[in-house]
Symmetry: C2
Subunit: 194 residues, 2 copies
């Protein structure tokens, strides 16, 4: 619905421009071009609005990651790593404003549940993907998976919060990929590869 989208967009913009403690129901409504009452027809609380915003975003992010993982079943591990980094990085920087706004809104409420759900989805999707790699020979796949996800997600977030120049960001991304691949090689039991 157009009204709903307008409300979400307004929320994001205000979150970005003024920060979370200036995020007023009145202001959101005003910027969205509707009245406060209308907002309360879609969301019972202000919290519900922010919750819905995060849910929307994390669902979409989960979808993208699952799709990327599914699309690379059976690929070589190195390729999987490139994909994972690329997907996550692009999701974050593609609409950097949304990412930033949501990072800021996270504190407002108990969204640990949402994050938990997202983490589980990503965990499962990636574990399945890695398990399908023909050249995969790591002993403890669960540990391997947890490590990669934590490092990649954490690094991207941290990179995102420091104000890196596009150049630095691009470099960092390449280094991160290299690092993950080096880790894989450390963790792999030698088999009979090139």
């Amino acid at each position: 619905m157009a009204t709903l989208d307008a409300i979400f967009e307004a929320t994001i913009q205000l979150l970005l421009r003024d920060g979370p403690h200036r995020l007023t129901t009145t202001r959101v409504a005003e910027r969205a071009g509707v009245s406060v009452g209308t907002m309360y027809q879609y969301f019972p609380h202000k919290k519900a609005l922010i919750y819905a915003l995060n849910e929307r975003y994390l669902d979409a992010l989960g979808d993208r990651i699952e799709a990327a993982c599914r699309a690379h079943h059976g690929a070589p591990v190195d390729r999987m790593i490139d994909t994972l980094i690329d997907t996550y990085w692009r999701a974050k920087t593609g609409r950097a404003d949304v990412t930033r706004a949501l990072y800021r809104s996270v504190v407002e409420m108990d969204n640990e549940a949402l994050i938990e759900v997202f983490a589980s989805r990503a965990d499962a999707a990636c574990a399945a993907m890695f398990a399908s790699a023909p050249d995969m020979t790591v002993a403890d796949l669960k540990r391997f998976n947890l490590t990669l996800l934590t490092v990649i997600f954490g690094t991207v977030r941290n990179a995102f919060e420091r104000n890196l120049s596009p150049n630095e960001a691009e470099e960092l991304r390449g280094e991160l990929a290299m690092m993950c691949k080096a880790y894989v090689r450390t963790r792999m039991i030698p088999h009979n590869q090139q």
Copy 2:
């Protein structure tokens, strides 16, 4: 001063127990065992209180990192990496409550300046340390340094926000160290080592 410490402690406890949007000057004063007026003798705003809290923490963290770096001048690179991870990890998990409370308070204000200062300190200290390693042969030290810091700090934070079991956390820490060292080996121009 005792009063100041009481106020800081009260702030941390309330931040943890009730979250940032329940952090009231009145409540902080009450829990600290002083009156609101007293608080305003130490801090002109509520923002100033939170700012001071973050400043305090980041200064201390910067001190620890600088000390660790200084103490390992001339050590082998692998040892430096262990030290860096260990120092940061311990600082975060040592008083996990404080860490968590501050992560939550960050949103309240423009503390980008504080973070910037901290990042610069850490950058400089680590760069100097790495440059002093006898076995250091990476071409682009700046890039190397940025990568390591971003990955380590980002991973630790991310690990901290997911509710990992102590076991998982410990495992992850080990894997992170291994990963960083593997990266170093990738980045080093072969010389004449073992």
